[in-house]
Symmetry: C2
């Protein structure tokens, strides 16, 4: 089974369910999926039943959905598509850091494996996307990095930003405006969200701090 055999909706669900737990968070809820896809909880519930029937995940009412090995493999293939496309859009078509996500969400359902192979080659097999998220290899394996932690839970000190979450476009734009992007150095004071980003003093709320992962 390949991602091309899945419906657009199935592709979206697998990617989002997998991504929700990428950094150790608890499994995404029915409500969370409904918000993510701007639909009703009822619709999510029914769709999860269908995906269970298709063997992509295990879903028992009132339990969180759990990806099967097949579901996980396909989810990671979707994540690879998304992140490779983000990298391509930023590098070759001049997309701004906060514009790549939406376009990648459109293209990830459409491009062929040939297209992916070509852009992977043009980019020189990149290991991370513009937000710092690792790009899985074609065989599902992962590039290796040091350990990371959320900026919200790290002791005061200086850190190198590795990753900025791209799930909330609004938030991403705010973070981009204060210069927060992979590679910059930030210093946390521990006091109330006051930090310096590339030398400039800024203040971030806890949610914004949680969207930034740094090397520890």
């Amino acid at each position: 089974m390949e991602v091309g055999d899945l419906s657009r909706v199935a592709q979206d669900y697998l990617k989002v369910i997998w991504s929700a737990s990428e950094w150790g968070e608890p499994p995404i809820t029915t409500k969370g999926l409904a918000e993510r896809f701007s639909t009703t909880r009822a619709n999510v519930s029914e769709t999860l039943h269908r995906l269970d029937d298709q063997g992509l995940l295990i879903y028992r009412p009132y339990r969180p959905a759990l990806l099967t090995p097949i579901g996980r493999r396909l989810a990671i293939a979707m994540v690879r598509r998304h992140r490779l496309l983000e990298a391509y859009l930023a590098r070759t078509l001049g997309y701004a850091w906060n514009e790549v996500h939406d376009e990648a969400e459109r293209l990830e359902h459409a491009v062929s494996e040939l297209f992916l192979a070509r852009i992977d080659e043009v980019l020189g097999h990149p290991a991370i996307d513009p937000h710092g998220d690792p790009i899985p290899n074609a065989d599902g394996s992962w590039p290796q990095f040091g350990d990371t932690a959320e900026l919200s839970e790290v002791p005061p000190g200086s850190y190198v930003v590795l990753r900025v979450s791209d799930t909330d476009a609004e938030q991403l734009l705010q973070l981009a405006e204060v210069g927060m992007r992979p590679g910059v150095t930030v210093t946390t004071s521990g006091k109330d969200g006051a930090i310096t980003v590339a030398g400039k003093a800024v203040r971030l709320d806890p949610e914004q701090l949680g969207a930034v992962r740094v090397l520890v």
Copy 2:
């Protein structure tokens, strides 16, 4: 109304119905659409009713479908998408002449207007795609060329190839193999499909000759 508001199926129908008459051929039939989309005549019939209801075309049973002004505008927007994408794939991603069509058919439903604007700029606002088909401008107007005719209906002599039809992938590959592509010079003898392409003698059947348009 924009192309993004249409279903994928509606986008396909408008593009194909419009394209069928691009070079003066009669309107495409129900059967023709069914073959083009690998579906049943029944399905085509029902879909045409739906598109009529949506005001995209006029459809009366046993009459050919006729695009409304709105339908035509959207059809041309889809043609622009398709051909711009073909040009982009060939020029920047090393797609072979006969590979671009299939990938463009996937992408044309997915890319945003921003994406189109960017690739149009990268390509320097091209007037033709890799098969020699004209690319409509964003406002629906057309680049100007000299008159063309099918190679099958032209008197013996030498001509410059302007366009090679891409609707049949198999045929396109055959024509590519004998060196038939936009820009080359061909000489017809009038005898039985015997012609020279860029100096080399080859023989083409009438259907193949009909797929090639030359400057007259």
